[in-house]
Symmetry: C2
Subunit: 280 residues, 2 copies
Amino acid sequence: MSFSDAKAVPTIGVFDSGFGGLTVLRALAARLPGVRFAFLGDTARLPYGSKSRRTIARYAAQSAQFLVREQGAEFLVIACNTASALALDAIQEAVPVPVLGVIEPGAKAALAATQTGDVLVIATDATVQSHAYAAACRARGMRALEKACPLLVPLVEEGWNEHPVTAEVIRIYLAQLLGEATAQGMSPDTLVLGCTHYPLLRPLIERTVPAGMKVIDSAEAAAEAATQLFNGHAAQTAFKVGVQEEIHCFATDSVEKFERLGSRFLERATGKVELIDLGG
Amino acid sequence: MSFSDAKAVPTIGVFDSGFGGLTVLRALAARLPGVRFAFLGDTARLPYGSKSRRTIARYAAQSAQFLVREQGAEFLVIACNTASALALDAIQEAVPVPVLGVIEPGAKAALAATQTGDVLVIATDATVQSHAYAAACRARGMRALEKACPLLVPLVEEGWNEHPVTAEVIRIYLAQLLGEATAQGMSPDTLVLGCTHYPLLRPLIERTVPAGMKVIDSAEAAAEAATQLFNGHAAQTAFKVGVQEEIHCFATDSVEKFERLGSRFLERATGKVELIDLGG
C-alpha cells in the first residue's frame, strides 16, 4: 500500500461520565503517540454511579454517537466503569465501530496477577450492583468480592488524595471488605481499582492493603488492551500516524471545573474544553 | 363563602434535585396537616450542585412544570438550595403559581438570630459560587462568608451522620471558614446550613461550632415561611383541608435508592415512589 492510500491520522474516542476517564486517556496517550484523541465527559449528567441501567444506557449511547458521528472516532474506549458495566451492549448497538470497556481488561489483569484466584474489587455503587466484575472474574475461574466505596470519588474531587481523612476512609472500607472476604473463606491477594478516579488514590491504597496484595489499576489495564487492539486494527487499515498525539476534550457542562480538575487526572493541562449539548 | 364553594384538598408541590429536600417536606408536613404534598426528586440528573446555571434552570423548570401541570400543585416550594440560588427566576417564569425558595427564608432567619450581623454559610459548590446567600444577607444589612463543603452530602448519603470521619471533616471545614472570617475581620455568631442534606448533620455541627454560635436550618426556615404564605393563600381561596396529610413522592431515577435513603430525611417511610420521565 503506497503512502497516498494511507488514511488521515486516526481518531480514538474516549468516553466517561465525568473526567475520571482522563486517567485512561493519559495511559492511552503514553502508549499511542501520534493518534488524535477525542474525549467526552458527560458532565451535565454525572455521576452515572448512582443511576439506573436504563438511564445510563441512554446517556452512554448518545455520548458514543457524538464521538463517532461528530468527531469521526474509528474506535471507542469506554473509560467509565459504570457505563462499561451497565451499557457496553447498548453502546455497541448504537455505533458501527469497535468498542472496548474497562471491565474485561481489569478482570484479565487480575487473572495475570492472582495466585489464589480470590480477588477484591472496589468501585461505585452502580458498578458493584451490576456485579459485572464478579461475572468477568467468574468467567475466568476466579472468585471476586465487590464493595461500593461512594466516598472516594468526592474525596478525590476535593483534592484530598493524600489526606489523613482519605487514609481513614480507605482503611475503613478495606477493613470491611477484608473482613467480609475472610468470613466467606476467601484468601484474596489482588485488589482491582474499579473506578477511573481511584488511580489518584493508588499510593494511599497501596500503603493500606495487606503486605503482598497486588493492586490492579483498571485504567492502565484498559489502556493496554486498547493499545493492542488498536495496533492490530491500524496495521490492517494503514492509518497514517501523526508526529505528536492531539487531545481534544468535550464536556456537556461545567467546562471550567473540567479544565480545573481534569489536569490532575491527565497529569497535564486539558487544553480548552469545548461545551456540547447532547439534548439531555 | 359557603362550604360548597370550597376547593378540594390543596396540593403543595415540593421539588429537589434529589431527596435531601425531604427535610423541608418533613418540616412542612408537621406544620400543615391536612394538605396533599407532591414531592419530586430529579434523581436522574442530580447532583445539581456541580452543574451550571443554564443546565440547572432548564432541569428545574421542567420539574416545576411536572408538579403544576401533572400533579395540580397550587403552590411550589423549591426545597433545593442550588435550584433556589440559580433558578428561582426561571421556575417563576415557567409556572403560573406562587414559588418559594429556601435562600430568602434562610437569610431572614439568620437576621433574626445574629447580633453581630456577621453570618457564615455552608453549602454546595454551585450554591456558594452563586453567592445567593451573601446577596440575600447583604440586602438585609448583614455580612456573610460562604464555604462549599462538597464532602458532606456523600457522607450523609453513606449514613455516616455521627461518624468520627464526618466529625473530622466538619471540624476541618469549619476551622477553615472561621479562620477566613477572622482574617476578614468578621465576628460571626450564626451559621446557616445552606443545603437540605445538612440538617441530618446538625447534632455533629452544633457540637463543633464555637460556644454561643447559632445554627440556622434553612429547611426549617423555608417550611416556616411557606406555611405562613400558604395559610394566607388558603384563607383567600377557602381550600378544603383534609384530615391527614398525604405525601406522594416522584423520582426521575433510582426509585429504590430514593425509598431506602429518603426515609432518613423524611423520618418515616416515603411510601411507594413513582418513577417519571422528564425526557432528560
